[in-house]
Amino acid sequence: MEERLLATARDIHGLYPHVHIWGWPIATYLFLGGLAAGILLFATLYYLKGKEDDMPFTVKIAPIFTFFFVSFGSLLLVYDLHHKPFFWRLFTAFRIESPMSWGAWTLMSVTLFSLLWPLSFIDDIHEYLHERGWHRMEKITAWIIRMEHKWKLFRWVVMFFRKYRTVFAWILLFLSIILGIYTGILLSAFNAHPLWNNSILGPLFLTSGVSTGSAFVMWLSNNKKERKLMSTIDMALIATELFFIVHMIMGMQAGPEAYKEAAHLFLGGQFTVLFWVVFVGFGLVLPFILEALELKGLHIHPALPALLVLVGGFIFRIIMVYAGQMSEYHFL
């Protein structure tokens, strides 16, 4: 028997009984970052495949949302900082060893591109909104088009982006993969938290993020072909996610004591129900079944599986952020 007790007072918030300094803002950001990465990945990929007219929602409309997702995510990150006036220090340094450093640069670039990408399609978007009868939104695009004609520099930037869109599509495709994988690597870089510290977490977060992206497109698109394709892709992604999850837990179970303890949080510990029933059950398996039934011809509203995947993806990140901080080495 060995018992370890703190003998002098150390009443520091967020350290005892276990580290808890990151909460819902970080989890929400990880979710929004992954979602934006997924949407942009499909937009650029299908643009490069020459499908911009067959899949207008995927390529042109869905990316509009990503600017708001990543901007709100960035605001959450700044909100979570404890030394806020110095946040600009992130951009006076580039440290390849620190995922947060290159992640910050990636996030900033993606934010910029996610604004330029839909701007380069502004005329098509305007037409699309008109066709779908979204007149309020149409007013905004009409205003942007007017501004574009009024301001030469603005017009020049948009035209430049439009001219070299294929090059930018490749860059953005690459950046979206980095953004998606970074949301996982950010956590897996912490050796002090065995639950996070596994190399499958990056691919797992990327897959989950792309899955939420496909769910988002599936939900809001009005094009049957687009929906069917996204639904099929989402099924493959969910299957991959399930494989990664089993793999992750097997890896931890085969590891040293601290890793077995981390796995126990999901295998009988306090996150068991939330993880297996709420996330895996309702966020992965159920939408997979619904999507499969829909492909078989059963009429299921696409919003249902899509919302399950999106809520599931969010809950997954909440679980990982909270459970990860509970999994640690015991020096006390």
Partner: protein
């Protein structure tokens, strides 16, 4: 130069002088501390054994806190001392998450704070405050690269252990049995 600390656990009485000395020397805010004492009880009743460990930042050889810092605020200075530059720190908490010893915390002013091995005293040839006040003289501070230093001799001759060697950070606080 490689600074390290060796602490004789059987001489330590757990008085907490090291903790108070550090708080005074470094203006540590009330309720916070850069070092702390852990009481370790081993065995089965009635055969129980007790010792104390004065703990702090381990000024590791392999520093996950410095690696994960996005701005370079966390850095290693001459002698292997791990420090934080306050006005480069954005208070993101990455280093706090990275440290397996929970040696770092958010200062009420926002930046991350931690043990500095009292580098301002060390530069003047003095021991860190915690070492200098210890009433049982159970703490020894010195340079591991100097084979004749007291700490090198102690580590050569005495059995010792470190905390969480399995975390792989090569900690530099040694506990002499």
């Amino acid at each position: 130069m490689r600074y390290a600390m060796a602490i004789e656990v059987n001489k330590c009485v757990g008085c907490g002088d090291c903790v108070v000395a550090c708080q005074t020397e470094n203006n540590v805010p009330l309720g916070y501390s850069r070092d702390w004492i852990v009481e370790v009880v081993k065995g089965e009743y009635p055969n129980l054994f007790l010792h104390f460990e004065s703990q702090r930042c381990n000024h590791c050889e392999d520093t996950p806190c410095v690696r994960t810092c996005p701005t370079g605020a966390s850095h290693v200075i001459e002698g292997g001392i791990v420090k934080v530059t306050h006005d480069e720190c954005i208070g993101c908490g990455a280093c706090i998450e990275a440290c397996p010893y929970d040696a770092r915390y958010f200062h009420p002013d926002g930046y991350v704070d931690k043990c500095t091995f009292c580098d301002h005293r060390v530069a003047d040839g003095l021991d860190p405050a915690c070492v200098s006040v210890c009433p049982t003289k159970c703490m020894h501070f010195g340079d591991l690269d100097d084979p004749d230093s007291e700490i090198s001799q102690l580590l050569r001759t005495r059995e010792h252990y470190t905390l969480l060697p399995e975390a792989g950070t090569a900690p530099q606080i040694y506990y002499l049995k």
